[in-house]
């Protein structure tokens, strides 16, 4: 081949590669919510410009969740765009929650996070502590559409970081007991009462745990739960224990107190002693939530999150009950909020969307999917959420427990503490290590995370 021909082909190839790279970069910006192209109207709108100037431009919104949840957010975006035709919202959907978190970390590191991101109250602190989030308190104060006083303060409070409200919470779910009413009937159990105790809870779980085909292996379990400190926490609180020494300014874990230890022992005994929950092999073969969905697990601990999926259940009747009570009342908060990355450019348009999503209209749309316990009092107490014609019939449970709802400590290293404590707790839960050894290891391994 003549050299010149080779060179010209090479130049062509190089040009193609450059074009492809440029194309990638361009489409990244468009779909991943990088800075909008310059010249887009509204880009330079300062955040404090009077609300009379209608913001415009393209913004991106990143969410996680199953298809039912995604559909709800699509509806939200459609309703928003109808009201604000000048703003174009592109939805970025990441199905898995842990994938979502990793994507978020990488996006923030790359300086191109989506313009609106959903963050859990257990995880936003890591970003807030590094100044990666735009505080939304001042925006909320100026808003004529939403007012902080209309929200449940239990959902607002956890998102206050160093005196400033960082994000706008969309929901405040508690941990509740989802139960299969058909299995309860079959076992001769009546519906759980509003003030049932740990003992009654265990008794129900035992009655529901059965070897249905007589082969010596349990086919139907009474209870299922994720094994984590987050799930065990309400039981620790109910028993008078604490997760950390001082929830306001934590300096160490407090799982080694007698009250916390006793509650953890009770939690672990559900598997090692009473065997009312799947063991390690059974859980790996088919996880508890799937067993619940298939009608072979009596009770499953979850937040409101499970509802859109559970509404697809046709084979049996189910409902929710409050957590059983220990020595004192305590529940645990689950809350996600709309946050705005500090590097976002079109802040006026972004706020317009966050404001809409958390005004009555937006919260009604998401609540209708079943996904959230709305953080707006008026929506939470409306038929959209409480509608007895839609499962769960007893949605009121989520509102009844709000007065004694508690939170995990708000600190930058908390997510990592949850991760390592879940690994440790699983060992005790599945009988691979003693609880004392597990508590010792958890305390020791978590300690460095209290001194950032």
């Amino acid at each position: 081949m003549p050299r010149s021909a080779v060179y010209s082909r090479l130049t062509l190839l190089a040009a193609v590669i450059m074009l492809a790279l440029a194309g990638c970069a361009g489409s990244n910006n468009a779909t991943d919510g990088g800075p909008s192209p310059p010249g887009g109207a509204g880009n330079s709108l300062p955040a404090d410009r009077p609300a009379t100037a209608e913001p415009s431009g393209a913004i991106s919104f990143m969410i996680f969740g199953d298809t039912a949840e995604k559909a709800a957010y699509e509806q939200l975006v459609a309703a928003f765009e109808e009201r604000h035709p000048a703003i174009d919202v592109s939805l970025i959907h990441i199905p898995g929650q842990s994938d979502y978190r990793q994507r978020l970390g990488v996006d923030f590191a790359a300086g191109t996070p989506a313009d609106v991101v959903l963050l859990n109250y257990r995880r936003y602190a890591a970003y807030a502590a590094r100044g990666a989030l735009e505080p939304l308190g001042p925006y909320l104060e100026r808003s004529t559409l939403i007012d902080q006083a209309d929200f449940y303060q239990e959902s607002i409070q956890p998102f206050i970081w160093e005196g400033q409200l960082m994000c706008i919470p969309q929901n405040l779910s508690s941990l509740v007991v989802y139960y299969n009413r058909d299995l309860f009937r079959a076992a001769g159990l009546s519906d759980p009462s509003a003030d049932w105790t740990w003992e009654e809870f265990l008794a129900a779980a035992q009655a529901l745990t059965r070897d249905t085909d007589g082969d010596g292996a349990t086919d139907q379990y009474g209870l299922g739960t994720e094994v984590s400190i987050f799930r065990a926490a309400p039981f620790i609180w109910q028993n008078g224990g604490e997760l950390v020494d001082n929830p306001e300014a934590p300096t160490r874990l407090a799982l080694d107190s007698p009250a916390a230890r006793e509650a953890l022992q009770w939690f672990v005994d559900l598997q090692v002693r009473h065997k009312v929950v799947p063991d390690a092999v059974a859980e790996a073969a088919e996880d508890s939530e799937s067993r619940f969905l298939n009608g072979r697990l009596g009770m499953f601990l979850n937040s409101r999150r499970g509802v859109p999926t559970y509404r697809t259940i046709e084979r049996f009747d189910w409902d929710v009950a409050p957590l059983p009570q220990g020595k004192q009342k305590a529940g645990i908060l689950h809350a996600d909020a709309y946050c705005m990355p500090a590097v976002s450019e079109n802040k006026a348009a972004i706020w317009t969307f966050i404001e809409f999503a958390n005004a009555a209209e937006g919260q009604h749309i998401i609540a209708a999917s079943g996904r959230t316990v709305p953080s707006l009092r008026a929506v939470a107490e409306s038929p959209t959420f409480l509608n007895p014609g839609q499962k769960p019939a007893n949605s009121q449970v989520f509102l009844d427990v709000i007065p004694w709802i508690r939170t995990v400590p708000i600190m930058a290293g908390w997510a990592e503490i949850e991760e390592l404590s879940a690994e440790e707790l699983s060992r005790a839960y599945y009988g691979q290590a003693s609880l004392d050894e597990v508590i010792r290891a958890t305390q020791e391994r978590a300690q460095p995370l209290f001194t950032p």
Partner: protein, 292 residues
Amino acid sequence: MTHRRYQRSLLLLLLPFLFGVTLLVVAPAILSLGLAFTHYDGLSAPSWAGWANFQALATNQLFGIAVVNSLLFVAISVPLRTLLTFGLALLFARPRRGVGLYRAAVYLPTVVPGVAYALIWLWILNPLYGPLNLLLGSVGLPTPAWLVDPRTALAAVALAAVFQLGEGFVILLAGLQEIPDEYYETATLDGAGRLAMVRAIVLPLLTPWLLLVVLRDLIVSVQSSFTPVLLMTGGGPYYATLLVPLLIYQTAFERLRFGEGAAMTLLVFLGVGLLIALTYRLFGGWGYDEAV
């Protein structure tokens, strides 16, 4: 075409690949080398850390566990896979009826994308409903919990990885074709059996090819064990399958400690280099004078 011109056109053909490798592998690798000496969370600018990341690794229990696990994984999967590759290459080296089909079957698991491959094995190894345990149970053999039992989890992951041996298989097939038939014929005349032929003819002549396959396998075992553990076990149960690439990923991208992750990457790079040097010495080099 002169030799020089031939070489130059080869280089030209190589250029697009070199361009891509530089952009996507070499440059990021050099950047991450620098990151190893910084504190960097991805959100604020990196700050100089000196050797602090490396000192932290010395007392990092998880890193210790991951290094031991990775070494174990290499110690199980490299010899096992090399032996199996060698055996299969010997078996299917000679042209015969249907050999193309057999060769394709051996190669097939290698073309299955990593994610799909991991999910298939997750199903195969399901302790209660997986086909492997159903099979073992039906013939009265013990049914281990595989990925669930800390004692068998790492071995199970290694077992799953063993069947992705297509590339080494092709290399050894090519190597076997290079051995002239006369050698075998002469050996047969001398009354050599099959085993003697393998020992006296195949092994010595195949040494450079085997070394290539082993070195490649070493690198692959350390590096591409990421996808299976991420999807099949997440590093569990209780860190039994926590391998270094997974820990690097978690440290950098989940815990946003990019400096520490980069330090681990650098140590793995040096560690693999050391393993390669050791293996090279063990084989006594490429087996013949390279000048010939």
